[in-house]
């Protein structure tokens, strides 16, 4: 397939499926994670990839940007990165005789914030604020970010030296948190035998565009959610607040995030309505990083325990 193949302007849903297949062809053996990443984009949320280096975090972000046809920027977070470095600064230009704003990498459609935990808390909070507000204020002037502005942040949870872990309160700015994990044997063999990912990425044709993304987001928001699904969702929220091992349960914002993600998941499945299955599929990714364990339990195990404990009424 060549990069300038004519793109049909019709219904984006079939192309969405094609796009899913295309990203899966690059990020091998992680169909669930890829689908969740798609759901995150469709729900209009930001994605936190938490994993050791080298498992394909960057590849996934690149593949997503390419396939979705989104303007892409990458920022490597380091301790000496300043807020201005990502937002932009006004530079004095002699010819014009005044300051001109040089927008930073933030003004893009898809931003890859690599190793976000290496940035100082100041930079982190500048980014997270932009994510929450969907705009930035520089020197009293408010500049809107692109309509589809999405952040994919990565961090390495094990490398703690010289890092600033994202505070719990900031974590829930991310709609989902995913870990890719090692590929299975088969996928790893395919990876080793196949072409270099970098080459593959370069050749990926954009199948969708920003307008498609906005359309699909609108469509996801309009999906039917029946009261029994809301009941189930509420039961999950309440159980998280009541769980003996959880210090702080899921907030109402987490409930909204869960609903949006479940809607996106249902849209990916081509359904016009949400089922409890959709809620379950996205629950760990949406909820785990928002749970605060009381003791040494991991967040993922808590999310799994909640899912197993809360019954679905027929």
């Amino acid at each position: 397939m060549s990069a300038n193949a004519p793109r049909p302007a019709s219904d984006p849903l079939p192309r969405l499926r094609q796009a899913l297949a295309q990203v899966n062809a690059v990020v091998l053996g992680k169909p669930h994670a890829v689908r969740l990443a798609f759901a995150c984009l469709l729900a209009g949320g930001h994605l936190l990839l938490e994993d050791i280096p080298g498992v394909g975090k960057t590849t996934l972000a690149h593949a997503l940007a390419q396939t979705w046809g989104l303007a892409f920027q990458r920022v490597q977070f380091t301790h000496d990165l300043t807020p201005g470095d990502i937002i932009g600064v006004g530079i004095y230009e002699r010819e014009q005789g005044g300051f001109r704003f040089h927008p930073g990498p933030l003004f893009t459609e898809l931003l890859l914030a690599d190793e976000i935990n290496r940035g100082t808390p100041k930079v982190q909070s500048a980014l997270l604020e932009a994510m929450a507000e969907e705009q930035v204020s520089i020197e009293g002037e408010t500049r809107a970010l692109p309509a589809v502005f999405t952040v994919i942040a990565t961090q390495n949870p094990l490398d703690a030296a010289g890092t600033f872990a994202l505070p719990d309160s900031q974590l829930d700015r991310f709609l989902m948190r995913l870990s890719l994990g090692y590929p299975d044997t088969q996928a790893e063999r395919a990876l080793l035998a196949g072409e270099a990912r970098r080459t593959l990425l370069r050749e990926l044709p954009p199948l969708l565009d920003a307008q498609d993304l906005l359309d699909l987001r609108g469509r996801a928001r309009r999906l039917t959610v029946s009261s029994s699904v809301l009941d189930y969702l509420q039961a999950l929220l309440t159980a998280s607040r009541a769980h003996a091992e959880i210090r702080i349960g899921l907030s109402p914002r987490a409930g909204l995030a869960l609903l949006a993600a479940a809607r996106a998941w249902a849209l990916l499945a081509g359904r016009g309505y949400v089922m409890p299955e959709d809620v379950q599929a996205v629950f760990a990714a949406v909820a785990a990083h928002r749970l605060q364990p009381l003791r040494q339990a991991t967040r993922d195990s808590l999310a799994a325990a909640l899912l197993a404990e809360v019954g679905v009424q027929a």
Binding site: S226, G272, E277, Q280, L307, A308, V310, A314
Partner: protein
Amino acid sequence: MNAAAQRPDLRSFALLSLTAAAVLVLHAGHLPLWLPPPLLLLLAWRWQGYRRGLRFPAALRYLLVLALPLAVVASYGTLFGRLPGAALAVGLLVLKLTETERLRDARIAVAVAAFVLMSALLFGQSLLMTVLVCATLWPALATLAALQPGSGGTAALLRESALRLALALPVALLAFVLVPRLSTPLWGAPGAGEARTGISARMSPGAIAQLLIDDSPAFRVGFDGAIPPRAQRYFRAVVLWHFDGRSWTPGHAALPLEPLAARRPPLRYTISLEATRQTLLPALDIPLRAAAGTRFTAARTLLAAHPVDQRLRYTLESATGYALDPRLSPAERALALQLPAGADPRTRALAARWRRQTGGAGAAIIAAALRLFHDGGFRYTLVPPPLGHQQVDDFLFDTRAGFCEHYASAFVFLMRAAGLPARVVAGYQGGYANRLAGYVLVRQSDAHAWAEVWLRGRGWVRVDPTAAVRPERISLGATAAAQGAGAPWYLSGWWLGLRDRIDIVNRLWDQAVVGFDALRQRGLLTRFGVDPARWQSLALALALLLGALMAVAMALTLHEPRARVDALARAYAVLERRLARHGYRRSGSEPPAQFLQRVATTLPPQPARRLYELSTGYARLRYACTPSAPALAVRDWIRRAREFRL
């Protein structure tokens, strides 16, 4: 801080004020005019203050607490009695609200309100009043609920209280029927100050009409022998000689006792008279002798020595076939022919014509008058049109509508004008014969007026002109006669019809509730094998029935529906159980549709396909349809689920 010491919230105080205002309004009808407006103003002021969190000035409150009894005394001359008591109670209720600062006070205020509310019924037991008073329990109970910590919204409170009242109604009615009635009051006399009237010694227009709608018992008669037939049960209470053109009165002349000759063996009976606050004692026809403590009037009606304040029993022997006063003295004749000068010329003319036509024969004149009443287009009604100055003329020639009082009055006038000595007798007629208990209950509504005409050789002869117009009045009673009376209601206009209907409802109310006394209780309960004479058996019945009701309520309470389950969920549960019998079990957290798909993957193609269809169908019905799935599709799914076999 003690919970009871908290300040009631604004909402409960609003409900409390509403309750107090309602109590005040219900009492307003009989309070002196100067009292309700200041109390309402005080209430409004207090409400404004409470809203702003202010306390009522204590000094002012003490002043008002002192001033209230003084004002009541100034108005009534006393603090005691029904009216001053009510004024005082209503005033104190409002003053209680001015000091309500704690939950405890508010609760007490509600209790006080309930009591004052009940006292409103001492002034009238009409259906409307009773309904209004019972309805005021609603805000009162809502106030109590609002004072509970953790109570819901105001709408929920009102709903809860209304529901509780509605649920309590059957129990209340049962208790009402079964509570043993007192045969004699424990204290005091009912209605001090205001005569519990019966027949009075003065018959003015409409006097009896008031009695006719009063269903309370007048007296009861126990006969030693058989109960005489209804048409013969005329109880004379007072003989009225003097007519002033409007009212009949006994007259003042001192006459000798009229001699009596009994023609049939006398009847022996005992009358148990309710308190009347009068001295008139009704007796059947003509008693032979006055009972102990009573005396005869000249016309052989009985008078008590003192006004009857308590139930009075007296035993008499009466003649029902008799010759009374066969020789009329001139003084009596003069009294029995008295007519107000110049009144009712047309009636006099008519009587004069009769006299000429009959040659003064008594029986013929009586027959002519009765024929006039029977064929002259007269009708019997309890709501007669008003009469002008020439009362008898107006009645006989214009309105031709009225009840016993009008007929008796006009008849006696006619007789006198025709030269026959005649007099009006007021008393009671008929009564309700309780065959089971062997006595006759005579109610105030059985009050009646008729005539006695003196015929040569026969003495005073009873003539009941009302019977000529409406014989049912004598055979059935006033109510029955009135209901069948006159033109159809629609001819009299919608208003009259409405009034009749309201009247019927009120009458039913009076009979069923207000008049439900020990006697009626006995009549009702003996049919169910309860002996109401012994209050123990009543109490036992009450306790048993209430216990049974409580048990039913308890059982309903204990039956706790687990969850709301709709038809789809029920059908799914059945399917789930069927699959479980084949070893397919759904964990609680497995979504229902996913479970069916999981089972389908293990099945042979045919059932797998059908189960898969059930799964997608279920998902569509359950999750795709808001707010609810179409009934037809649900039924179809249920049918397919029922037909599914592994």
